[in-house]
C-alpha cells in the first residue's frame, strides 16, 4: 500500500492538530478491533491464553475513553491524554509496550500544538526508545522490532516529504514488512508458523490510521469467520442482553449453496452476540436469542446444512448461578496494618483465590489466563490498602509488565515479584512476612520462585509442531515451566507425561489444582492414578477453579 495519489485522503495536507490526532487514534482502535481475532490467533503455543489482540484492543480502548469527549485542539496535549489512557488501561505484555510507545510519542510531541513531519518522526523515534527501555531484556522479532523499523522508515521518509501524513503512509508498509520478517528473528515464531502477534497488532493500529486517511472502511466486516479455536463464548456470556435469555450453539457442515453473507443476515434477524467459527469444513454458530425464538436458529440451519451438535443454555439461570457462586465464596482477605507489607495477587480462579487468601494475601485481582488485568486494575487493587508497602505477584508471564507499570505509576512503594505461574506465586507467598523489610521480603520471595516446577495441562487450540512435540488441535498438551513437553489423548495421560518430564519421583510433593472444566470426581480419579504411580510422594488435590487449564500442577 504505497502512496496512492489518485485516492484523495482525509487529513492530507491539513495540519495535524488535537482533533486530527483524535480521529487517527479512533481509526487505529477500530481497525485493531476489526482484526482482533486475527491477532489473537497468532499464539506461539497452542494454548488458550495470552490474547494479544484483545489486550491491545482494550489498551487502546482505555486510551480512546480518555479523549473521546475532548475538544482539545493542541496536538501535544491530546497525545498526552492518549498516553495516560493507554498507560492505565495497559494489559498484557504487548499492551504495556503499546502504552510505552504512546508515552514516548507523547514526550516528543508535548509542546507541539500541531504535529509537523519532523515532530512526528521524532515522536516515533522517542516511542521506540521508550519502549525498548521499558523492557528488561528486549527481544527482537517482537512489537519492539516493528516499532523500530517503523521509526526508521519514517526517518528515511523525512528526507523526501514534509507532510506527517505522507510519512505515515510510507511507514505503514515498512511496519507490514517488519511484521512479516519477525519469524526470521525469533525462531519460536518460525517453528510455530506465525508472525509476532504484538507486532501485528501495532501494524493494524497504524494501518487503521492510514485507512481512515484514505477513507477506507474500518468497521468489522460482519462476514468474518473466526478460526474455531479462537471462539470465546465466555466473554459473550458476560454481556447478556435484556430479553435474550437463551444461548444456542450449533455445529454443522454447510450444504452446497451456503452463503455466509446471507447466513449472517438471517441470524441478525433472530438474535445477538453472533459468532461464527470454522475448522476443517465444520462451522460453529453461536447466538443469543429470546425464549420464544430459541428453536429458530436450529430450524434455519437444518435447512442449509447438516447439524452435528446442538447446545442450548438458559442464560438467565446461568447468570443467577454465577451470581450466587460469587456471593457464597466471599473471600477473607488479610487485614494489613499501615506499617505492614501487603501482597496483591492476580488469580485466575476462585479456588486459587481462596488458597491465596488463606495464605494472607491482602487483595486479589481477577484474571490471568485469557483475561489479563490492566495496569489500572492492578493499581486500584492496592491504592486503597492502608499501607504504603506493596508486593505484587502477577502469576502469569503476560502480566508482569503491567504489574511493573503499576509500580511506576503509583506513589506507594511497590515491588513486583515476577511469578510466571500460580505455583510460583504460591511458593513466593509462603516466604512472605508482613512485618519484614520490603527489600528483604521481596528478595526471599523471589528466591522461593525457583523452588517449584510448574505444570499446565490444557487442550491445544490448533495443530502445530513445536519444541519437537507434534500437537493436533483438540489434543491434551502439557507444559513444563511454560515449555511444551508432551501431547496426549487424555487429561490423565497429559498429567502423567508432565510428571514424568518433571522427574516427580525425585521430589516430595505433587499438588494438583484442578480447573473449572473438570468435575471433582474426574479430578479425584486422576489424583488416585497419580497416587498409585508416585507412592513415595505426597499428593495433594485442590480445587483451583481456573478456566482453560484442566490442571495446574506444582512439583517440589
Amino acid at each position: 500500500m504505497g502512496i496512492d495519489t489518485v485516492r484523495v485522503g482525509r487529513l492530507r495536507g491539513k495540519p495535524l492538530d488535537g482533533q486530527a490526532v483524535k480521529r487517527l487514534v479512533e481509526a487505529g482502535l477500530l481497525w485493531l478491533k476489526t482484526n482482533q481475532q486475527t491477532v489473537n490467533s497468532l499464539n506461539v503455543f497452542p494454548v488458550p491464553d495470552g490474547d494479544t489482540g484483545t489486550n491491545m484492543m482494550l489498551t487502546m480502548t482505555s486510551a480512546w475513553n480518555e479523549i473521546k469527549d475532548s475538544g482539545e485542539k493542541h496536538a501535544g496535549k491530546m497525545v498526552a491524554m492518549v498516553a495516560k489512557g493507554a498507560l492505565m488501561g495497559a494489559r498484557g505484555n504487548s499492551g504495556v509496550i503499546l502504552s510505552q510507545l504512546w508515552r514516548g510519542f507523547a514526550r516528543a510531541t508535548q509542546d507541539s500544538a500541531i504535529i509537523d513531519a519532523e515532530v512526528f518522526v521524532r515522536g516515533l523515534m522517542e516511542a521506540r526508545d521508550t519502549a525498548y527501555k521499558g523492557v528488561v531484556k528486549p527481544v527482537e522479532g517482537t512489537i519492539l522490532t516493528v516499532a523500530k523499523d517503523t521509526a526508521s522508515a519514517a526517518e528515511a521518509a523525512l528526507a523526501e516529504v514534509q507532510d506527517p501524513i505522507e510519512i505515515l503512509a510510507r511507514s505503514v508498509p515498512a511496519a507490514d514488512a517488519s511484521v512479516n520478517q519477525t519469524p526470521e528473528l525469533l525462531p519460536i515464531l518460525k517453528q510455530a508458523g506465525v508472525v509476532d502477534s504484538g507486532g501485528k497488532g501495532l501494524f493494524f493500529i497504524l494501518e487503521g490510521m492510514l485507512r481512515y486517511i484514505y477513507g477506507e472502511p474500518l468497521d468489522t466486516p460482519l462476514t468474518t469467520v473466526q478460526p474455531l479455536s479462537s471462539l470465546n463464548f465466555d466473554e459473550a456470556m458476560q454481556e447478556v442482553e435484556e430479553g435474550q435469555d437463551y444461548e444456542v450453539v450449533v455445529d454443522f457442515f454447510p450444504g452446497q449453496h451456503f452463503e455466509l453473507q446471507k447466513f449472517y443476515g438471517k441470524l441478525e434477524e433472530m438474535g445477538t452476540s453472533i459468532q461464527v467459527g470454522e475448522g476443517d469444513g465444520m462451522y460453529r454458530m453461536h447466538i443469543h436469542v429470546p425464549l420464544d425464538k430459541r428453536y429458530e436458529p436450529i430450524d434455519y440451519i437444518m435447512g442449509i446444512g447438516t447439524i452435528t451438535k446442538i447446545a442450548m443454555e438458559n442464560l438467565t439461570a446461568q447468570m443467577d448461578e454465577m451470581d450466587a457462586k460469587t456471593k457464597s465464596s466471599k473471600l477473607e482477605l488479610a487485614k494489613v496494618e499501615s506499617n505492614q507489607i501487603a501482597v496483591v495477587v492476580v488469580s485466575p480462579g476462585p479456588g486459587l483465590s481462596r488458597i491465596f487468601a488463606s495464605l494472607g494475601v491482602a487483595a486479589i485481582v481477577g484474571g490471568g489466563q485469557t483475561m489479563n488485568p490492566s495496569t489500572q486494575e492492578i493499581l486500584s487493587a492496592f491504592e486503597n490498602l492502608p499501607t504504603e508497602k506493596i508486593i505484587v505477584l502477577p502469576n502469569n508471564k503476560n502480566i508482569i509488565l503491567a504489574a511493573n507499570q503499576a509500580k511506576e505509576v503509583t506513589v506507594k512503594k511497590v515491588e513486583v515479584v515476577p511469578s510466571k505461574t500460580v505455583p510460583q506465586g504460591l511458593a513466593a507467598m509462603l516466604a512472605h512476612n508482613p512485618d519484614g523489610e520490603l527489600a528483604v521480603v521481596t528478595e526471599k520471595m523471589i528466591k522461593a520462585l525457583s523452588e517449584v516446577t510448574t505444570g499446565e495441562i490444557t487442550v491445544a487450540t490448533r495443530s502445530v509442531e513445536i519444541d519437537g512435540v507434534n500437537v493436533k488441535e483438540g489434543e491434551v498438551i502439557a507444559l513444563l515451566d511454560g515449555t511444551l513437553v508432551a501431547s496426549s489423548k487424555s487429561i490423565e495421560d497429559g498429567v502423567m507425561a508432565f510428571l514424568n518430564k518433571a522427574k516427580a519421583e525425585e521430589h516430595e510433593l505433587i499438588t494438583l489444582y484442578y480447573g473449572e472444566y473438570l468435575s471433582q470426581s474426574d479430578a479425584n480419579r486422576i489424583a488416585d492414578v497419580v497416587r498409585g504411580a508416585y507412592k513415595g510422594q505426597e499428593i495433594e488435590l485442590q480445587d483451583g477453579g481456573q478456566p482453560h487449564y484442566q490442571f495446574i500442577i506444582s512439583v517440589e
Partner: protein, 295 residues
C-alpha cells in the same frame, strides 16, 4: 526482664562470692550427663494425656510419646509442676550448703513455669533468684549451662553468662504440620498462613519468649535448606543443639548436611535432642529445630 528486677533485690557485695545452686525444669532438654556433671536440680513439667498426668521424661518416654502423639483421641496438654515441687528443690540445694539458688525456666509468656517458681521462691526470703529464660528446650538449656559453668565465679558472673548467652542465642524450628501449633493457641492469631488451605510446613523462631512465624514451606527439603541458611547466618557457633520431635533420622541427615557444609564453624560437641513432650505437644511430631549460640 525478670532477672534485672531480681538483681536489684541484692546488695552487690553480699552475693558476689557464695555457693550457687541451679534449678531448672525439664523443658531445658539437657542430657542426663550434663545435669549430673553440674549438679542441676530439674523440676519435671507435667503432661496431660487423655486426662492422666505424666511427669515429663519420667512417667512417659519421649520416644513412646511421639509415636503415640498423632493417635491421641483428646489432644494432650501441658501443665506446670506444683509450687511444692519447686520449693522441695530449693530446700534441697540450700540444705546441701548453697547460699543462693538461681532458678531459670521456660519462657514466661508461653508457660506458667516462671510464675509458679516465683511463688515458690517467696518462701525463701531472697535466697532464690527466678529468671525467665524467654526460651525453650536448649534455648533454655544453654543459658542453664552457661550459668553452671560460671557459677564458681559467683552470682554476678552467672547472671552475666546467662545474659550474654541469651544475646547470642537463636532458636528455630521447622514443623512438619501446622495442625498442632494452630490448636496450641501459643502462636499469635495474626499469623497469616495459620488458615492455610494448602498443607504447609511452618518455620518458626522462638525469640523474646514469643513464637514468631518466619514463613512457611511445603516440603522437608525446602525446610532443611532454610534451617541451614539460618544456622549459617550465625557465623561461628559456640554451642549448637539439633532438636527434633521423634524424628531422629531427619535430625541425623540434617546434621550430616551441616557437617558437610560448615564443619569449620561448628562447636566440638553438638547435642542431638528428642525434645521435651511439653514442647512436642504444641509443635507435633517430626519437627526439626536447632538452638545455636554464636561465638
Amino acid at each position: 526482664m525478670n532477672f534485672v528486677i531480681a538483681r536489684d533485690c541484692f546488695a552487690r557485695n553480699d552475693i558476689t562470692f557464695m555457693k550457687l545452686g541451679i534449678v531448672t525444669d525439664s523443658t531445658c532438654d539437657l542430657p542426663q550427663y550434663l545435669i549430673e556433671q553440674h549438679g542441676l536440680e530439674v523440676v519435671p513439667s507435667i503432661l496431660i494425656i487423655e486426662g492422666k498426668e505424666y511427669a515429663d521424661g519420667e512417667d512417659i518416654s519421649r520416644d513412646e510419646f511421639y509415636k503415640r502423639l498423632p493417635d491421641f483421641k483428646i489432644h494432650s496438654t501441658t501443665a506446670a509442676p506444683s509450687i511444692g515441687e519447686f520449693a522441695r528443690r530449693y530446700q534441697k540445694l540450700l540444705d546441701s550448703g548453697c547460699d543462693h539458688v538461681i532458678s531459670i525456666h521456660a519462657a514466661g509468656p508461653l508457660t506458667s513455669m516462671v510464675s509458679t517458681a516465683q511463688q515458690a521462691a517467696r518462701e525463701f526470703s531472697n535466697r532464690i533468684t527466678v529468671i525467665d529464660s524467654l526460651s525453650l528446650s536448649l534455648g533454655l538449656g544453654f543459658q542453664v549451662l552457661a550459668a553452671a559453668e560460671s557459677s564458681e565465679d559467683g552470682f554476678e558472673a552467672a547472671l552475666g553468662a546467662i545474659e550474654s548467652t541469651r544475646r547470642r542465642l537463636r532458636v528455630f524450628a521447622a514443623l512438619d504440620t501446622i495442625e498442632y501449633v494452630r490448636r496450641s493457641g501459643r502462636v499469635p492469631g495474626t499469623i497469616a498462613f495459620l488458615g492455610s488451605l494448602l498443607s504447609i510446613k511452618p518455620i518458626i523462631e522462638l525469640a523474646d519468649g514469643e513464637v514468631k512465624a518466619i514463613h512457611a514451606v511445603r516440603t522437608m527439603k525446602q525446610a532443611n535448606a532454610r534451617m541451614l541458611t539460618f544456622i549459617r547466618q550465625g557465623g561461628s557457633l559456640e554451642r549448637l543443639a539439633i532438636l527434633h520431635t521423634g524424628a531422629e533420622a531427619r535430625a541425623r541427615e540434617f546434621l550430616n548436611q551441616l557437617m558437610n557444609e560448615m564443619s569449620q564453624s561448628l562447636p566440638r560437641d553438638i547435642l542431638m535432642v528428642n525434645v521435651t513432650t511439653v514442647i512436642g505437644t504444641h509443635v507435633g511430631p517430626y519437627a526439626l529445630g536447632f538452638a545455636a549460640v554464636r561465638v
